[in-house]
């Protein structure tokens, strides 16, 4: 049978520092008509570069050095067309459309969205300007852009991220392509928007018979949406199978390891994440043998002796690139299972509250005009009330703009709340002056999201970690300082001999460990973790999560864990606090929140998170959610969620529901449960 699209042995090279780096190293894949396939892989695995190579969009100094691309209807290898030839341009955008990751930068800021879509239609469908305009408006309506006629003349920056990505979908679909490539199309968006968009892509594709390639690092997304999946690692395909088969019977050691390393929303509480040790190979120094060898638990001596294995069929429609035979793999698996799995560290539960927050508010003034007159306020957070026990982890989840970070900054006393009280170990710190705060500050530490920009690039690791030791007078002598720094390094799993290095000499995971060591150096009672793992690759995330859990068991620290990834939050937290537009919607124990979800927003949020298992996905009830998160300045009167809630009643529009205890420490702010 002829495939709609077939890539054979694609090879793409980049030149960096005079070295040739093979970003894509012999990738073959196919796509059939109307099919939705997923390509998953960590950053640097070559998944996007493969797609770009296919369309000859690789720009210099990169170069496709080999391979063939066959597209139904084209007589010859598409790579033989020149990179700017009439033929390839007919395919680009005409037969194969792409949607890119960053909706903020992927649309041209100086052209109206209408122009940008219309241009695509005129280019590929040979329609007059007037007809193209009509079609553009239809496309905009199809992706649910309200007032399409007027919005035609709007510029991209007048839309929210989710809307822009819908415009991208409209643009990509406007030329009636046979293949749509969604390259991390929803990665930068909130979970509820993400699932709205992917569902839209799927529905449109099924309606028009368009085949879709979803490129992502998120295993949950491919489990929910893809029919067939390619797993990529270090420039090559490791495994290919149908979605159910891949998740129920993963064959390649990498896929198996990956599935053991990621937390899932439906995990039992005691699940232990097993991280993949080490780092992906540097593509400039990739070995001739299997690129996963160094991190593989199944590795045998023969793996290192032979060259990189090709994909081979293990059973019908299931391919894996591994040299081991079924027997060998079974044997190895038995050995691995027998190895004692490090149990989740036992944590002591303490009774006393470390932090008590009641009714804090933070408003930001809006200034306008030359005289900077105050014209209004952004009510960033309102009536935030919660407590945090010693040795406990409280997860804070919510979509962007919900005030998670503002809460954290109020607790750190970077901001002074307008009203309310913050009690730290029974002591009020709400309005303390800087000088009085000096004693409190070391006790509440912070770990930041971006391990690249949150460390001073000119400071050595040692001085980053040791700075606060000196600052707080925790050490008396030089000797003591060095022992303490070494101890901190060892505590976070770093070799103390690396302490003379500067941040860019470390990998992302190591940098985050330095960030953790820095937070620990002042011997804090509370660490506020603001998205500490979202910038890391999936295989590294598990290492950091495990480290945080171990440290907590060892040192009895309380964590305030802020993240948008619900699976991770659920894995690490004891209790979860759900925020929406500056208010608390629900607080509950982890399992209670998942099994007995009360608030309609929490329900929608949980349902939007895809689980990395197609069987579970198929059985899950979906709770649809309307619209997008409005801007804080447009927060509705009454319940902030009312205009997106299907249960909204008169009462919800008039009054803000108070946060009530429904029993067993499960708090919810909703009139449904009065």
């Amino acid at each position: 049978m002829e495939h709609l699209l077939e890539l054979k042995n694609i090879q793409t090279e980049f030149k960096t520092d005079g070295k040739r780096v093979r970003a894509v190293d012999g990738v073959s894949m196919y796509l059939d008509e109307g099919e939705i396939i997923g390509i998953v892989g960590e950053s640097g695995s070559g998944k996007s570069v493969t797609m770009m190579s296919m369309l000859q969009l690789i720009s210099s100094p990169g170069r496709v050095t080999g391979g063939e691309v066959y597209l139904k209807g084209e007589q010859e290898n598409v790579l033989n067309y020149g990179s700017d030839s009439e033929e390839i341009r007919r395919i680009r955008g005409g037969k194969i459309s792409m949607i890119f990751q960053e909706p903020m930068t992927s649309l041209n800021p100086v052209l109206t969205i209408g122009y940008q879509i219309q241009e695509n239609i005129m280019e590929h469908l040979n329609l007059s300007k007037e007809e193209a305009r009509k079609q553009t408006i239809e496309m905009l309506k199809m992706v649910n852009i309200p007032d399409a006629e007027q919005r035609f003349h709007y510029y991209p920056q007048q839309f929210s991220g989710g809307m822009r990505q819908r415009i991208m979908i409209a643009m990509a679909m406007s030329s009636h392509p046979t293949i749509l490539v969604a390259d991390e199309a929803t990665t930068a968006l909130d979970v509820t928007t993400q699932s709205q968009l992917l569902e839209m892509i799927r529905d449109i594709a099924k309606k028009t018979g368009t085949a879709v390639i979803i490129v992502t690092h998120n295993l949950g997304i491919v489990a929910r949406f893809a029919e067939r999946i390619y797993v990529m690692y270090s420039g090559g395909v490791m495994e290919m199978a149908h979605a159910e088969d891949l998740f129920s019977h993963p064959e390649h050691p990498y896929t198996r390891a990956l599935l053991r390393a990621i937390p899932r929303l439906d995990d039992p509480k005691e699940r232990v994440l097993i991280p993949i040790e080490g780092l992906p190979p540097n593509p400039a120094e990739r070995p001739e043998y299997c690129p996963f060898y160094d991190r593989c638990e199944y590795r045998m001596d023969k793996c290192k002796k032979e060259i990189k294995p090709d994909l081979k069929e293990i059973r019908k429609d299931h391919f894996a690139a591994c040299l081991l035979t079924e027997e060998e793999k079974k044997q190895k698996k038995r050995e691995i299972d027998e190895k004692e799995v490090k149990k989740a560290p036992l944590r002591k539960a303490y009774k006393e509250n470390c932090l008590e927050v009641s009714n804090i508010k933070k408003y930001f003034p809006i200034y306008k005009g030359i005289m900077r007159k105050k014209v209004g306020e952004v009510k960033a957070i309102e009536d935030i009330t919660f407590f945090l026990k010693k040795g406990e982890t409280l997860g804070i989840v919510g979509e962007s703009g919900c005030g998670k970070t503002t809460v954290a900054r109020c607790l750190m006393r970077v901001y002074e709340p307008e009203s309310g009280t913050i009690l730290f170990k029974g002591r009020e710190i709400t309005h303390l002056k800087d000088r009085e705060l000096k004693k409190i500050r070391p006790k509440i530490a912070m770990i930041f999201q971006d391990p690249f920009s949150s460390l001073d690039p000119r400071q050595t690791a040692e001085s980053i970690v040791g700075e606060s030791l000196k600052l707080n007078g925790a050490v008396k002598t030089k000797e003591e300082y060095h022992t303490k720094v070494d101890e901190l390094f060892r505590l976070v799993g770093l070799d103390p001999s690396l302490k003379g290095r500067v941040p860019h000499e470390f990998s992302g995971g190591q940098r985050q460990r330095i960030g953790i060591a820095r937070a620990l150096s002042s011997n804090p009672d509370i660490i506020i973790c603001d998205e500490p793992i979202s910038a890391l690759d999936v295989s590294i995330q598990a290492q950091i999560i495990n480290l945080l859990e171990e440290l907590q068991a060892k040192l009895g620290i309380s964590y305030l864990f802020i993240a948008h990834d619900l699976a991770v939050v659920k894995h690490i937290s004891d209790r979860i606090l759900v925020m929406y537009l500056g208010r608390i919607m629900e607080i509950a124990e982890c399992d209670e929140l998942y099994n007995n979800t009360l608030h309609p927003y929490t329900k929608a949020l949980l349902s939007a998170v895809p689980v990395a298992d197609p069987v579970v996905e198929a059985g899950r009830k979906r709770v649809p959610i309307r619209g997008e998160v409005p801007s804080l300045t447009k927060r509705p009167i009454g319940c902030p969620f009312q205009d997106r809630c299907e249960h909204a009643k008169e009462k919800c529009r008039e009054a803000v529901p108070p946060l009530r205890d429904t029993g067993g420490g499960h708090f919810v702010a909703c009139f449904l449960y009065e």
């Binding site: 341009r89 680009r92 890119f100 930068t105 992927s106 041209n108 100086v110 052209l111 241009e119």
Partner: protein, 315 residues
Amino acid sequence: MGIYILKRIAQMGIILFIISVFTFMLMSFIPGDPVYAMMGEEVSEEEYQRVYYELELDKPVIVRYFSWLNKALHGDLGQSTQFHKATSEVLGERVPITIYLAFLAFLISIPLGILFGVISAVFRGKGLDNVVTLIANITACLPQFWVGVLVMYVFSLKLGWLPSYGFSFPWDGDIITSLKQTAMPLFCLSLGGIATTTRQTRSSMLEVIRQDYVRTARSKGLSRRKVIFVHALKNGLIPVITILGMRLGSMLGGSMFVESVFSIPGMGSLFVKAITSRDMPVVQACVLITALVACMVNLLTDILYAVVDPRIRVE
């Protein structure tokens, strides 16, 4: 958009006011007796007294400033001490020449600079880019008077193709003569402009070409020409506009050298002469006119910004 322009005009008014204060102080604070500066050292007692009161030197500075400003607003900028006629009359002959030259040089250099910049960015790293960049880098550093002297030596002295001095407008008589007279001055004036615009356009285009929306445009299958001229250039021009204002300013400055070299009776050469002969009213007038032109250009630049970049236009 309307409010935006009004705001800019208001700002311009404030800036011009401040400049007028400084310009006025130029005369008050300069060392030496302004009467001697005007009339020369050998002035009779009555003459001295007459001029002293004429210049209102008996009154406080603030009063003098406002009376000066009032007169200036009515077009009376005082008497030129070297030409012994009204400053406005002196300038009236000179300013159009300089404006004409600077404007033409501006019109020549900007499109050419943008063109070369785009070419060099599109062919980045290739031979053509290297040649353009090298020439642009060299010419950007060449002093205008040196180029002036050089071309005069080649084209007037050695080849004898072009006259080495003189100026006439093309509309008062012979177009050919006028073109011949202005060819070299224009060349000198626009050279630096071309070079800086080329460099600015190149670097901003290189920046823009890497952007995601250019990749999007390419993935739509648009032709290279459309990608470059519709999607990239419109964005790439935004930083170039910033330097346009500065270019006109430096062209007015450059006219001092170029007009001196080619003996063109414009404002530049007048300015130089006025400074050397301490003709304060003329210096003041030149400074004011230059400031006014610079402000106008900045205003135009800001409006142009809003036209090109919708992010400024729509809040």
